[in-house]
Amino acid sequence: MAVRKPKIIVVGGGLAGLMTTIKVCEGGGTVQLFSVVPVKRSHSVCAQGGINAAKNTKGEGDSIEKHFDDTIYGGDFLANQELPKRMCEAAPAIIDLLDRMGVMFNRTDEGNIDLRRFGGTLYHRTAFAGATTGQQMLYALDEQVRRFESENKVQKFEYWEFLSLILDENRICRGMVAMNLYTLEIQSFAADAVVLATGGCGMIFGRSTNSTACTGSAASIAYQAGVHYANGEFIQVHPTAIPGEDKHRLMSESARGEGGRVWTYKDGKPWYFLEEWYPKYGNLVPRDVASRAIFKVVKEMGLGVEGKELVYLDLSHLDRKKLDEKLGGILEIYEKFVGDDPHKVPMKIFPAVHYSMGGLWIDTNHMTNISGLFAVGEVDYQYHGANRLGANSLVSCVFGGMVTGPKTLEYAKGLQKAYESFPSTLYDQAVLKQKSIHEGLLKSEGSENPFKIHEDLGKLMTNHVTVIRYNDKLQKADQEILKLIERYRHISLSDTSYGANPVLPFARELYNMLHLARAIAISAFHRNESRGAHYKPDFPDRNDAEFLKTSKMSFHPESPRLVYEDVDQRWIKPRPRKYV
């Protein structure tokens, strides 16, 4: 008799989902891979600057220990230390693997992989492919998955959206329900394990550096089904983005890594405030520090460029050829979307919501508190603590996938009961429940427009739950979200047809965004300290005695519950975090 092959569902085809898929196939399993976009168009393409690994090829004495220490210190000691430690250990071999897959990393004259500087470290530690490193890495993994697809080990479901988990009577995950975005058809899928690799939730803030698919909807569905949402209050605001009407476009930290300088005018003269305030790290302070500095200069001191909420990011003093080789991708974006040539004039930038350090709670095997449900990539909460270092996200996605894939197989092989032994009613009921939500929305005849509610949610979250936080405003934000949830009950859809209706999926995502937004606002309200990206002027210091803890939200429709969990600090003890 043939040995039963484990079947794993992976939702999301960015770096983390694709690496998980590759590992499952390599380990003898099969994968059904779901994505709301063709996986090659996933948000990982937007990662620009590079990927960290202490390869120490510049004779600076960099080491895995230093990468680990920078990561924990950069995250203000909130990260559990085991996975980040293992990630830093694995990072140099991950670069080699990507190189073997054909990622076109920039080279030195000797033909070795070049490294550049990034924020929160004093070493050259970041490998890069121009300024489109995420895109190049995603393509390499996409190609490997296509190879497995041609061997029938992977079945792709592109333009399918995750709608719900299927849990058995013991609350073990046995599959999931998804909808086809071309037809709105709803179907159940059974599997030994389900992996959510669905990325971040920037869309909750309206305009961010994220792609439109980054709604956090899948994370919210899992949260509403009972998975803890951990450290949700830690939202990274990237210091340098081009403000836009539809999104804010990232201008990579690598611009500063290659010598870019941030400044504004003070008393009629250029003022390099980061270099003055942080002489040791200068323009390469971590992102939370740089964003707060820009807020101070612009909002408190009123020194924004041209009286607007902008400061300069200046590359105009650097060599044109070097800029094109190392930063071509972002220079092109600036020129196309703004119309100015950043070789010649300084770019005008402002901080924008960029990354969620928090996410679904997982253990060190990447399994959530629901058996059989795993999470990996930006959607999980491990690795980055209270603030992520630049170029650590790509390495955490790949490393996370390398852990998750084998762990799902291990889990599948240890299962007492296989998904095949459950009656079809378990799956049929889950489909019926989703169908009735569909029907309800299509019939709904209120006066509210889901896209307008989303715009209001974005403004609310951006104004009250980003760089500077006050408890009265956080409380107000939560009350306002409750009002938006009430408005949601009175929506109507401008498109009530079946087929590739774009409005119904958006309405469903919006519902989930609203509940995840509450989790973020409430956990921010309760953390009365300042740590990493979470800053409250009324509580300006870090408070380890009370808050060196992971926050864990449990969903409840009226009042979500918050508990705190100790942080694993086995290797590095907390110390004051200063970059001066």
Binding site: K23, E26, V37, P38, K40, R41, S42, H43, V45, C46, D96, L97, D99, R100, M101, G102, M104, F105, N106, R107, T108, E110, G111, N112, A129, T132, Q135, Q136, E143, R146, R147, E149, Y182, S211, T212, A213, G244, E245, D246, K247, R249, E325, G329, I333, K336, F337, V338, G339, N449, F451, K452, E455, S494, D495, S497, G499, A500, N501, P502, V503
Partner: protein, 247 residues
């Protein structure tokens, strides 16, 4: 209030007839076509006040690296995220790409492009993801050539303007051909050079290229597509001769 006028080609599904609708949306400095499409979703009314449905379109990154939002803007195929209203003549006319089946409105199904990548074996067949040490060395010059080719985001602009690429032709098109060159110049990929050349020598392969050279002119990433095709022409000819004398 300053407004912007749009004329959008709409179609419920592949088997229904297309129709046009006009829209007027509020102007903001720096706005792009995507901003306007969101405005319409928030206020789904035509320019003459008639209630309609939100327009369906594909998008994701909105910074021209994912390729999703490709459509025809004022007669020219391009990504709509980088189509800035200030640079466009009004009414701004939006149509779906014509070389792929329409899903709804401005959304088309480009699955054929991804299938082509399977056909040409666009990957490096690594031995596994285990730690096998460093990859091959690569000169900065070869990295430049490879990087330029590897920026292809499978958007389909090159195929939209290609006279040889349509629903009655099996031609794989410039995007997939250029990937053959990319993988064949990689030190490891080179080991399967002949296998990949084989994939583009049969029906729908490189010989279907009519040398119109439209592809290279519309590529948003300035990929040297015609250089790739010329290079592959030489390689396939040499390989065919070699095969002839080998047999």
């Amino acid at each position: 209030m300053k407004t912007v006028r749009f004329k959008i080609k709409r179609q419920q599904s592949l088997d229904t007839a297309p129709y046009w609708e006009e829209f007027e949306v509020p102007y903001r400095p720096g706005m792009n076509v995507i901003t306007a499409l969101y405005d319409i979703a928030k206020n789904p009314k035509t320019a003459d006040g008639k209630a309609t449905s939100a327009v369906a379109w594909d998008a994701n990154c909105l910074e021209e690296v994912c390729g999703a939002c490709t459509m025809i803007v004022n007669g020219k195929v391009r990504q709509s995220c980088s189509a800035l209203v200030d640079a466009l003549q009004q009414p701004i006319c939006l149509e779906p790409m014509t070389k792929f089946p329409v899903v709804r409105d401005l959304r088309v199904n480009r699955k054929r492009m991804f299938d082509a990548l399977k056909r040409v074996k666009a990957w490096i067949p690594i031995d596994g993801t285990y730690d096998l040490g460093e990859g091959p060395k690569l000169s900065p010059q070869d990295q430049h050539i490879g990087y330029a080719l590897s920026k292809c985001m499978t958007c389909g602009c090159c195929l939209e303007v290609c006279p040889q690429y349509h629903d009655r032709s099996p031609f794989v098109g410039a995007a997939a051909l250029s990937q053959v060159r990319l993988f064949n110049l990689h030190p490891t990929g080179k080991m399967q050079e002949e296998e990949r050349l084989e994939t583009i020598m049969g029906e729908g392969g490189i010989e279907d290229c009519g040398n119109a050279q439209n592809c290279v002119r519309v590529c948003p990433k300035d990929i040297p597509l015609t250089t790739s095709i010329a290079d592959l022409n030489r390689k396939t000819t040499a390989y065919a001769l070699k095969k002839f004398f080998r047999s």
